[in-house]
Each structure stands twice: as C-alpha cells, then as structure tokens.
C-alpha cells in the first residue's frame, strides 16, 4: 500500500513550482510528439487538465501557507521550560483574524518565508510528537516509574559510563593543554576542522571498519554533526527541485536533512518485508524510471549502511550494483555509514570505501557520511564527517562547513580521546557486546509476546512486525496502535509510516537508552497493549 509522499514545498518556492509545471507539461508532450491517434481527442482533455492544474495551483496558494498566525502578546515569559511548539500548520487565512491589540502590533505581522513553514507539517508527525511526550514525562526507574519510556531515540547510552570515566580523568588537560593557554582553542580555526582531528578520525573510521580500508584525512570535512553533513552534500549535489532516491523505510530526520532548506526532493525506493527490506535493483530501476517520467531529475542515491530503521547491512553485490547503476545513470552515491561501528551479529560490515578501493569505479560520484554520535555515544559533541572522493565537492563543502563548525575545545578533547587507542579499543569491544546483548534480549522478549523482528545486524533498534495487532491494515490502523502504545502503554516507538514504510504495522524500537533492568518493564507494557488489541478482535 503506497504511503503519501512528503508534500513538496509550497507553490511559492521554486521546487514546488517546477514539479507543478512538469505535471502540466507531461500530458501536453504527448500531443506535441504526435502520439496517439486523434489530436483533438488529446488536445481537449489536455487543455482541461491544464486548466484544472492552474485552478488547483491558485487555490493552493490561497491556503495561506506563508501567513503567520496572529502575533501573541509581546515579551511574555512562557511558563515551563520551552516555548509552546506551534500547533499544526494553520491553513485558514489569518489576516482577517488579526486585530490590533494593546502593546501588540499596529498592523498585520510580517510574513515568514514559505520554506519556514514547510517544516511545520512534518514537525507534528508521530516521530516528533512522541519525542516531545517523553520529554514532558520521562520515565525513570526510581523517580518516575510511570513515565513514558523512550524507545524512539536512536541514541546509544549503553556504554556511557566508559566515556564518562575517561572524560572525568582527561577532559581538563585535553582542552586547555598543560599550559592552560586559551589561544589555541579561542581563535579562529579552519572551519572544516582541525587537521589533527581529521587525522584522528580517519584512523578511527578505519579501526571501526575493521581496518578493511584506510581513509585519507585530506578528503575529510568535519561538521557539527551528521545532520549538516548530509545537508551540505544535498546542497552540493542537487539543485532545488531535483531529487535523491532513498530506499525506504528510512529514518524520519532524513526528510529534514535532505529537503528542508535545499528544496531537493526524496523519492523513496520501497523495500518489502519479503526481501527482508533489502534494496532490490528492480525496485531501484523502476523508481528511477518513474521519477524520470514525472520529469524529476535524479541527482543521486542515498543509502544508510547499516540501515535505519531496519538495521540491515548492505552486502558487496548490492554495493557493486549500486555503483554500476550510479555510473550508468551518471549520478551520485551517498552512503551514510554513521552506524558502522554499531554492528552486532555475524555479518561483516562492508564500507562503500572498500568497494571503491577494489574496483575501477569513477570515485568522484562517491561520498560517505560518518559521525561520532552513534559509535562513540557522543551526540552532544556534534561531530559529523563528510568523506568525499570528489575534489570540487570537497572544496565547496569546506567552505560551507563554516555554517556548521565544531567547537574548538570539543575538537581538542576528541583528539586526545581518539589518540587513547587503548581506551577506544576497550570501548568498542564493550559497546558491541552490550549492543548485542540488548538486541538479543529484546528480540527474544518480543518473540514471547508474539511479535517478530526483522533480522538485523546493526543499529540501536529492533524493527518489529506488529501488523497482527493493528485493527485495519493501513496507516490509520498503524497510527492507532502507535497512539495506544504511547498513551496507554506509555512507550514511545516510531511507527513505520514516519519512516515511509509501504507496509503498515512495522515499528522501530530503540533499545539503547535503556538498562537491562528496564527490559521487563518495557515488555510488560507492550504485553498490556498487545492484550488490549487482541481482546478487541
């Protein structure tokens, strides 16, 4: 069952305009090319179609997606720690509702850019709503045992104690150095990261991937997290209105990272449970051709390896096929390998860099994204990596990194940490073990509840098949179950629809923010909801 594509940016932005224009032109092309028998029979429906499109386009822009809601009373200090997240995008024309208030405004509020609004719709989806609910009522074994348990954040806390220990002993010196001099970290540093850190990270990446490939520090651009790394690549490889193909299901934030400010589209390549949600080259081909027919220019493919939310590893043949395909179509290939160090199970991780090494491919189309948030449990430090074989992309990305640079003291700290090879080795070993233990415990526990998980070899999550529990086999049924799990079961899991999964009933459960003691609690709560669902039918 097809899920709705993310809506394109509003019609005032160039991206939306291009696609709308394309939708108008395509039927007319048939007439121009003289296809089909009766020209009149084609012209009239096309003309009608054209006018219908125009009518729709005009009415859509009247929906006021660029309008502000009435300005609130000024300088009010909201109670609570955060400003109220804005309510779902108001489609009602708000100008007429504005009235001058005392201390308010002397006229209607100034508009925001339409791209500012385009995120609002997505931001009210289940993924973000769930995260918010947890932050409002977070579970804590002792102080808040009835709180909402966070199973929606792919963050690794399993080995935090090891990192914390290291930091407690080494942090101060690492940042300020023996002479406590600040000029080394205070002054302007290269925006794309200190070379020392690039060297250290290149070494770390190699270690993480079991030394199967070595990385060249000069091909690295460091950014404040993988989020800007992906966005920068999107800005460099595609123009507004172009598209990337992405195997679905894919993690929810990718929509924001690739599309929001760039105006670039994502076209999902649907993967199915019958294939273990692995990418099939047939589906890839079909999706590419469909995009072409829609008049969308595909600039590249983005894969996540290990994948998120399923946790699959890409095998060598698939990576070769992807490279062949990218070469044939002359497009880019981006591999987000941010979870490369978080594998468990028997399969080996193979980096795209390794494939490139072994064959005579045109490397200039290959770009790898990495980061330290996942593998080293350090999301707060904001460390992302763009690793590219393309000189021009490297040059552009270096300049763009100025908008997302890593804080110098944090860089210094990481240089020290990564240089402590003994610690890194100990951490990676322990981390993998704990990951595997938690994964197995969850899969077993869920199985006992009658919930099967897709076999996975990496990542912080289980990809659960709860289709047996949903009332109607569609997105609505899935979201009802999600809501039940959140409101009644008080567990926040991520529904497959937020990940653009075409089969309803799949859910991502992240287990890395828990301790082993929490497992029975989680199982209990899921069981409760599962029983409610079963007793209904």
């Amino acid at each position: 069952m097809k899920k709705d594509q993310e809506s394109t940016p509003s019609s005032t932005s160039t991206g939306g305009g291009a696609t709308t224009a394309m939708r108008v032109i395509v039927p007319l092309q048939g007439v121009v090319q003289g296809r089909g028998g009766l020209i009149l029979g084609s012209v009239i429906p096309c003309a009608l179609f054209y006018f219908f499109q125009l009518y729709l386009k005009r009415n859509r822009s009247k929906g006021g997606s660029g309008e502000n809601s009435p300005p609130p009373p000024p300088a009010r200090s909201p109670s609570g720690t955060h400003l109220q997240e804005s309510s779902p995008l108001q489609r009602v024309q708000s100008r007429s509702l504005l009235s001058p208030r005392g201390g308010g405004s002397s006229g209607p509020a100034p508009l925001l850019a339409s791209r500012a609004d385009s995120i609002a719709k997505q931001a009210d989806g289940p993924y973000y709503v769930g995260l918010k609910r947890v932050s409002e009522d977070p579970y804590d074994g002792s102080s808040n045992p009835d709180g909402v348990i966070q199973l929606g954040l792919a963050e690794n806390r399993l080995s935090l104690d090891l990192v914390q220990e290291w930091l407690a002993e080494n942090a101060k010196e690492s940042i300020l150095g023996q002479d406590m001099s600040i000029s080394g970290i205070a002054t302007y540093q290269p925006f794309d990261g200190l070379m020392e850190l690039k060297v250290a990270i290149a070494g770390f990446m190699s270690q993480v991937m079991d030394k199967s490939v070595s990385f060249n520090p000069s091909q690295i651009v460091l950014t404040a997290g993988a989020t800007p790394a992906i966005e920068i690549l999107s800005f460099c490889l595609a123009d507004p209105g172009n598209a990337f193909l992405v195997p679905s299901p894919y993690y929810p934030d990718l929509d924001r990272d690739v599309k929001w400010r760039t105006g670039v589209e994502i076209i999902p390549i649907p993967c199915r449970s019958a294939d273990n949600f692995c990418l099939s080259t047939t589906a890839l081909d079909r999706t590419f051709n469909q995009a072409r027919k829609r008049g969308l220019k595909v600039r590249g493919i983005i894969i996540s390896n290990p994948s998120n939310p399923v946790g699959n590893l890409f095998n060598r043949e698939t990576l070769y096929s992807l490279l062949d395909f990218a070469t044939e179509k002359n497009i880019h290939l981006i591999s987000n390998e941010i979870l490369a160090g978080s594998t468990h199970g028997s399969e080996d991780f193979v980096s795209l860099a390794e494939i490139i090494d072994s064959e005579d491919f045109d490397r200039t189309r290959v770009h790898i994204v990495y980061g330290l948030s996942k593998d080293l449990s350090l999301p707060g430090f904001r460390v992302g990596v763009i690793y590219t074989f393309n000189e021009n992309v490297l040059a552009a990305a270096k300049k763009l990194a100025r908008f997302s640079s890593i804080s110098a003291p944090s860089q210094r700290l990481l240089i020290s940490m990564l240089a402590d090879t003994k610690f890194i080795h100990l951490f990676m070993k322990n981390n993998r073990e704990r990951l595997e233990r938690m994964y197995n415990a969850f899969v077993t526990g869920l199985k006992q509840l009658g919930i099967e998980c897709m076999k996975s070899n990496g990542g912080f999550y289980c990809w659960m098949d709860m289709s047996g529990l949903i009332r109607s086999y569609n997105e609505k049924g899935e979201l009802e179950l999600w809501d039940k799990l959140l409101s009644v079961g008080k567990v926040n899991v991520t529904p497959g629809s937020s990940c653009h999964c075409i089969e309803p009933g799949w859910f991502r459960l992240c287990f890395t923010t828990l301790s082993e003691n929490d497992i029975p609690v989680v199982m209990d709560r899921i069981r409760k909801v599962s029983e409610i669902c079963k007793s209904r039918s």
Partner: protein, 444 residues
C-alpha cells in the same frame, strides 16, 4: 570511421557548489592569502605581512585564562555523573537551559540592564555566521531581498545569499553625514528593489557597525524601526560588537528601543549575537538568534539542528557567563582596553596625516585614504590597497569589498595583535606616508 570511445561524462554538481557567491575570490580574501603565505611574526618573520584584516579580539585573553585557571572544573565535567549525562547526550536543539539563561543574562549585562532578555527566546547556533544565514532562510524566499546599509561586512554576501538564494539590496550611506543610515537612503533602496520586481523582506543592520566601528544613534534606530513597520517587513539587528562599545552608555540596542515602545511591533525584530568578538572566542563557535517572534523562535530552533553548539562548550560557557563578578569585570576591562587600542591607532594615524571616522566601538577603525587616491574610483582604491599589501605589507580591507560607494576608505583591525605589533604597523604606515610625500614633492 574508427572506434569511438565513449567519454564518461563527469558527474555534475549543483549550482550552489559551483557558484562563486562564497566570495573567496574578492580582495578581502586575497589579502588573507597573502598573509597566509608570508605571515608576520615578531621573531621569526619580522618583515612579514601584518594581518589587519581579521576582526578578532585578542586583547583580553588573560582574563579568560585567569577565570579558567580558577574554575578548572568548568572545563572538565566536575565528576558528576548526572551532569555528564546531560552533557554528552544532549542533542536537543533547545540547547542547555543553563546556557541560554547565561547568554540572556550576559546580553543584559552588556546593555547595562537597559533591556531584558528571555532565555526561552534564545536560539543557539554555531556562530553568528550561521545565525545570520539561518535568519535569512526563515525570513526570505529565494529571489527575495534584504536591505543592508553600506558599507557592510564582506562576509554578508556569502552568509546571507549563497545557499539561501536571497539578494542583498544596498542602502547607500556616505561620509557627508558620517555614514549614518537615513530614511531617504532606505526608501531609495526599497524603491530600487521594487523597480526590479524584487520583494523586500527586511532590513539587516549591524550595530555597532562593521566596518565603521561606530554605534548607531538612538534616533536612527527609531527611524529604521518606523521604516520597517511602515513597509511591514522585518528588522534584523546584528549586535555582535555590542560588548565592544568603548562606553557602555553609547551603545543603544534595538531591544532598548522596543522596550521603550512597550514592545509594540516587536514581532518583526530579531537580534543576532555571538561570543566571537566580545569574548574573543571565535573558535568556540557560539552564536545566538534572539527573536521577539514566537514562530521565528520555534522555526529557528528546529533549523538550528544544522548548526548546534557542542554541549560541552555550552556547559563551560554557562558557568563562565553566569559568574556575574567575572562578566562584569571582563566587560569593563575589555571595553577599556579596546578604547585604548583605538586611541593608539587613531592618534598614530593622525600623526601621519591620516584621518579616520570617529568611532566608538568594535575591533577596527574606518580609515580615510581618499586624499591619496589618484582618482576617486574603485580601481584607484584597489591599486592603493595592493601597494599597501605588497609594499607596506599590511593586510587591510578595502572599502569596495564592503560595498562602500565612496572610494578610498579602508577598515583596519587593531585588536588581533600585541601593542608592539601595532606600533610596528604604524611605523610602516609612517614610512609609507613619508615616501609618498617625497614622491609628491618630486612630482611638483
């Protein structure tokens, strides 16, 4: 016909990637390259190029180091498990509350308590560069424009335009009134945009101004605010040099103007701030957007995911900036030192017959070399700039790279070096002026 080998077409990049809107081919940056190739060093390279094109504040490092030495636990994690957990895990785009509180309070202190700031309106970004770009993304669509008074910081061409696709329409200011912004200039710029069918979304001012090194007067701020209200557009006030005003009372923030008006029409105002200049910590990458518009705050927060500050840095600064004794002392001493530097260079230049715009803030002075120009033209200015770079070996910024409509003005930074180096720079200028005088005499 022989066998033809299919030439594999190389894979294309985007327009953003190949555009030169990054501006790194302009003189502003060419000077930096010259410096990089031959950097001055007091002992190792005394004849090298002295960098006077980088607005960096190094005059108060000792104060920071003193603080860190006394409070070394701020740099580490205090051995508290819970604080670390909050620290490393923190990837929420809201930012640490303690940090936002500290920023709000620091901004209040800089303004002598004349304006209040709500920590919940503070959005964190990795530097003001990112803050300005982010605000532009939110306020304007591709093809729209921001009005920016000239002369302005050369980096704006990149920060406001490159990825955003937004245009800058200059608001021309000139020396006839000390480069102050006038309503006529604003109206003219607005009309210019309208005639080109470009939608103006807002005005972006820098206060204190870069490159002028002067604060904007209260009456001018009032005029600008009235102007944006009348056009129903936004106002972005980049106040990153607010702590570098030599006399606290001389800097008036737009926040003060709004407070005096009871915050009427405030939802169109947004302030950008950073610790790079006032605290001399550009390497830390700390910037903020402070908006009076709830929707902008919410959107900016979400967008800040692309440009967050490491939680470790946030925590370090949260401690430092909430230490009111430290900040009061720092702000006061820093102002004093910058003022002294400023007078040192102004007097030094005046003794060599060079006048500067009367300034009262910032890390630079706005120097008038127009009497030395062969012709009142950009080309002459650039020729003069080149000879100063390659003969006098000083990298200063030509006014044309700041889009100044009057040729002959140069921005000269004075806070990124020791006093000794500044003396040497002044000596070189002295020698240069002497030679010039001789040449002029010879030509007569």
């Amino acid at each position: 016909m022989g066998v033809e080998f299919e030439q594999q077409p190389s894979v294309e990049l985007s327009k953003v990637a190949v555009s030169d809107t990054h501006g790194e081919d302009s003189p502003y940056f060419a000077g930096w390259k010259a410096y990089d190739e031959d950097p001055y060093d007091e002992s190792r390279n005394p004849s090298g190029v002295i960098q006077m094109g980088l607005a960096e504040n190094q005059v108060s490092f000792d104060l920071l180091e003193e603080y860190l030495e006394k409070h070394s636990e701020a740099a580490s994690f205090g051995n508290k498990i819970s604080s670390f957990r909050e620290n490393a895990l923190f990837q929420d785009y809201h930012g640490l509350q303690s940090f936002r509180k500290a920023m709000a309070s620091f901004m209040e202190q800089i303004r002598g308590g004349r304006a209040k700031f709500d920590p919940d309106r503070v959005v964190i970004t990795a530097g003001a560069t990112a803050a300005n770009e982010l605000v532009t993304f939110i306020l304007a669509n591709p093809g729209d424009a921001l009005l920016v008074p000239t002369p302005y910081y050369p980096g704006f061409d990149r920060d406001l335009r490159w990825r955003t696709g937004v245009n800058i329409v200059p608001v021309h200011c000139d020396s006839s009134n000390n480069f102050q912004i006038t309503i006529q200039a604003l109206e003219a710029a607005y009309a210019d945009a309208v005639s080109k069918n470009i939608k103006v979304r807002g005005v972006l001012i820098t206060n204190p101004s870069n490159p002028l090194g002067a604060t904007i007067q209260r009456s001018v701020l009032e005029d600008i605010l009235d102007f944006v209200i009348s056009k129903n557009i936004h106002l972005v006030s980049d106040e990153i040099y607010s702590g570098s005003a030599f006399f606290s009372g001389e800097f008036v923030s737009i926040a003060e103007v709004l407070e005096a008006r009871n915050y009427q029409d405030s939802e169109r105002v947004h302030i950008v701030y950073s610790l790079s200049k006032d605290l001399g910590l550009p390497g830390f990458r700390v910037g903020t957007i402070y908006s009076y518009n709830d929707k902008v705050v919410t959107t900016a927060r979400r967008m800040s995911s692309f440009t967050l500050i490491s939680s470790q840095t946030q925590q370090l600064l949260a401690s430092m900036l909430s230490d009111k004794d430290f900040t009061e002392k720092y702000i006061r001493i820093n102002r004093e030192r910058l003022k002294n530097r400023y007078h040192m260079i102004i007097d030094g230049l005046r003794n060599r017959g060079i006048e500067c715009l009367e300034g009262n803030a910032g890390l630079f002075c706005w120097m008038n070399l127009s009497p030395l120009l062969k012709e009142r033209k950009k080309e002459s200015e650039l020729a003069l700039w080149k000879s100063i770079l390659y003969e006098v070996k000083l990298n200063i910024s030509p006014g044309s790279s700041c889009h100044c409509s009057e040729p002959g003005w140069f921005r000269v930074c004075f806070a990124n070096m020791t006093e000794r180096t500044l003396e040497i720079a002044l000596q070189r200028i002295h020698d240069f002026m002497e030679i010039k005088k001789e040449n002029d005499v010879q030509q007569q």
